[in-house]
Symmetry: C2
Amino acid sequence: MFSKKMHDLGTSPSVIRDLFEYGNKRKAEIGADKVFDFSIGNPSVEPPAKVAETIEKLLRESDGVSLHGYTSGAGDMGVRTAISEYIEKIHGAKVSPSHIYMTCGAAASLTITLGALFEEGDEFITFAPFFPEYRVFVESTGAKFTVAPSDEKDFQPDLAALEKLISPATKGIIINSPNNPSGVVVSEENIVKLCELLKNKSTEIGHPIVLIADEPYRELVYGDVRVPYLMNYYDDTIVCYSYSKSLSLPGERIGYIAVSDRMNGADDAFFAICGCGRSLGFVCAPSLFQRVVKECQGMTSDISIYAKNRQILLDALTSYGYRCIQPDGAFYLFVEALEPDAKAFSDRAKKYELLLVPSDSFGVGGYVRISYCVSTEQIQASLPAFEALAKSYK
Amino acid sequence: MFSKKMHDLGTSPSVIRDLFEYGNKRKAEIGADKVFDFSIGNPSVEPPAKVAETIEKLLRESDGVSLHGYTSGAGDMGVRTAISEYIEKIHGAKVSPSHIYMTCGAAASLTITLGALFEEGDEFITFAPFFPEYRVFVESTGAKFTVAPSDEKDFQPDLAALEKLISPATKGIIINSPNNPSGVVVSEENIVKLCELLKNKSTEIGHPIVLIADEPYRELVYGDVRVPYLMNYYDDTIVCYSYSKSLSLPGERIGYIAVSDRMNGADDAFFAICGCGRSLGFVCAPSLFQRVVKECQGMTSDISIYAKNRQILLDALTSYGYRCIQPDGAFYLFVEALEPDAKAFSDRAKKYELLLVPSDSFGVGGYVRISYCVSTEQIQASLPAFEALAKSYK
């Protein structure tokens, strides 16, 4: 009477959700301040004040019919123009407003892009560790989902392994940098090598391989790290962006797809994106928040709070003997488990009231993900538990 | 390099969009007040003041992190509880909060419901005239889209014709009442007969046929007309609702799916809905507007404006000799064309600066749709043109 596949998706166990629910139960038992929940990647920093100010201004100055009315399917042209100008100003890349499609966030950016590109027999490849929903989104189109390994020591992409996996079926590569769950930013050196490889392979297999850049964490980087803008390195690039993390608006579902002006058949790819958005039931991206992000180009929440959390945790964990993957971006620390089985390690951590996500669902074993988008107080209060957990293995 | 099907959808000509664009060009040529654009079904009445008041109150009283944060995939439980209580209070039907799934509007409600129900070989049936996107949404799942005729004189569903069309492949029937484009409200008598037929046919074919009630126009009815609540007549009912029309918020993309508690396997159907929403990339419905609609249950924009427009137009057109289908709901008048070819009639109307949508794309010939969600001034100013158009056929 209903789709078994969808039912399975709707009931499939989620390690993250299970941990989060365990945490809520545990907090009720022993008090919220005694449980150190690092399971969820939900921004913990207020949106910039400009968000509320812009909403209030729009409510004051616009008539409700046009403020809350339909925009065109691809989004309000003024909003798309502002984004186009911002991309050119900051990244020096050309994306015409007519190649920008406003979406209901990063997940929609991906499902629409994948559905627009998919032809029978296609495959999309990403690198492990990866955001688990990638598999759902790719397989929902009908495409094959293939995982390439990363280099084990630094979790930079393993390009030699990718080269072996690419075949005529390869339609696109999904790159997520800064990465969820590892926090790794792919180095410019590796981007250059990757793009060289894709150019050669595209020629070899007789059709372009599309680079899909999933970039919700672009602005969340620390120190002097730079996230290369992929269109500047490779023509057949589509950027899937979301304001969820940069502006702390994950529930508002607002983002965009940007098709490089230099992409082969950019106009046609854009039309396919419009068609796919239509077929999936995305009539337009939420109209009020389209106008909000227009006024907030280049702004972010106060990222210094994440930077502080990251540094406290990184220094402490390293001093207790944990090995952390170089965490240049996002708000995740990817830490080697102190025993081979990440799930067993996560279970033992629970005894210290530490909720850490085992890495298996991200496509690699032996690590845990620590989301440091929590209060600095929680980070500081958790340190003795991390120390005790490490000692328990000695 | 991209999906041909999606490209075709993204570039397919739309009679409504073409008319709308013609109208914009024509307005630039001769002045906006000289062109009588009745092409678009976009609410023209301000949202209730409570919408802006609620947004301002939420901005003042909530912290931004939770106000704009993720809700659960199915929506905020407080919001779903309020909707459940409202449905019970107004319609006397039982829909537990755990059977309500918040969506990004009516289109999303439909794509998610159809995708959740679809199994290989399935077919969904609706009655002509129908909202053209139904075909897109149904065929995108992989299902067959079948159209049953309506009775030609009053556009009530032709149940004898439906009976002949139902086969073991029939998974669901989509009912849209009040109807876009006809404005018709299906009578209670016909609902009772339809549900009787579906019960018998479900037994005959060995599985339940699901009734999908697409109800974005539920509150837009005139006089003492009542729109029967389908769950009260048939157990296997799923309501697809949107606040786009009732609260004049079409751009904000907020609605819900309600699965009747009495549906066969209601919990499993709901899980499939959750899975399908996830696979299509709907992470959650926009969080701010979930909270807004919670506070606006049962409110509507000032519908008296539509009622006034409808009456002026109906009286005048009837007096000029037009035949109008009984327009009990929505904001559409469905008028018999004065020649057999609706497109030719719409083209002739253009000479009088009247933009009327020919009915062919709605699945029936020989009519035009007039959207009266425009200013009353436009209605009044257009009357001489309607009169002259009628005279030109005498």
